[in-house]
Subunit: 139 residues, 3 copies
Amino acid sequence: MVKTEMLTFKTKGNCDVVNITDEVTRAVGESAVTEGAAILFNVGSTAGITTTEYEPGLAQFDIRAAFERIAPEAGQYEHEKTWEDDNGHSHVRASLLGASLTVPIVDGRLTLGTWQQIILIDFDTRTRTRTVICQIVGE
Amino acid sequence: MVKTEMLTFKTKGNCDVVNITDEVTRAVGESAVTEGAAILFNVGSTAGITTTEYEPGLAQFDIRAAFERIAPEAGQYEHEKTWEDDNGHSHVRASLLGASLTVPIVDGRLTLGTWQQIILIDFDTRTRTRTVICQIVGE
Amino acid sequence: MVKTEMLTFKTKGNCDVVNITDEVTRAVGESAVTEGAAILFNVGSTAGITTTEYEPGLAQFDIRAAFERIAPEAGQYEHEKTWEDDNGHSHVRASLLGASLTVPIVDGRLTLGTWQQIILIDFDTRTRTRTVICQIVGE
């Protein structure tokens, strides 16, 4: 069985870390899948998906600081010369983080750890409405 | 067909790189799947999964040095103020590396390269017993 | 249904960013899958797969600069002492980027954004012929 939902999230940009676990959990619950996986995919090239312990220290500060080391906001980006925009660092960060995450489902539940949440990180420089594909495959 | 196993590994922490290829290969062999994929997922938010050529230089030194540049162990982390613990860098590294990896199966075998092994990297600051979900889907 | 293709790409190495979207799109179109996912996996331990807006600024300069910060080409790598070769940085970068990407298929099409392409990044220090497994699963 394959069941696909388009989830949407309003984001603030600038490394906004959004906890999307509840929406994915709901989609899994509404599907009839008890054993399988949730394939998550961010549509667009300035955001990505991963997991973390969702608490303010990590979500608002520590993750941001690491991406600032990898691709500083104030750096020089050829991408910005191509389009005369300001989000070169957003693209680079998103490519490094990755657009997809696959979480197994066992006994009808996501196999996340107790302190592990699914997050969407929006690296763009403005508010956005993001689409995350949530595709549930299995039996 | 979907077949799910919980694999467990004792880890030493502090960027311990563990070669989990043999356990995944065994699980694939014991399933009846000849064409499909092995979905691997680390349960918990201070470890991740990827591939590398598993040899001591990369596993014990070079990968560790890169994560030290991205999220230094001695850095300041708001996460540590939240919980009064010492593993802020562990969380940041794990989020960047990612919790899931999907490896196709063709003719009953994982499509890894000759010098490519599946590794679990434990970034936590102490010994742990890790659970990796190994879910085999296919025909 | 599971349909697997081995795609091959000639690459130049040294952080060569190759747009593989057309080949994956063709494979999806030739399969009978209308709802499911394309599981992509790079065989080998010195290249990886992700998405980006494929334009020259990002592809030739900005992504490269970020990986140079994470694992500098001129750095010291224990891997190079093990094998007396020169691609320690290539391995570290590939492990960080990751070998697999899963893109959902809806109505027979990949759910990529308008400005989002699938890329293979070859970090090795020489020309290579790369194999990417493109496995299409679904209904």
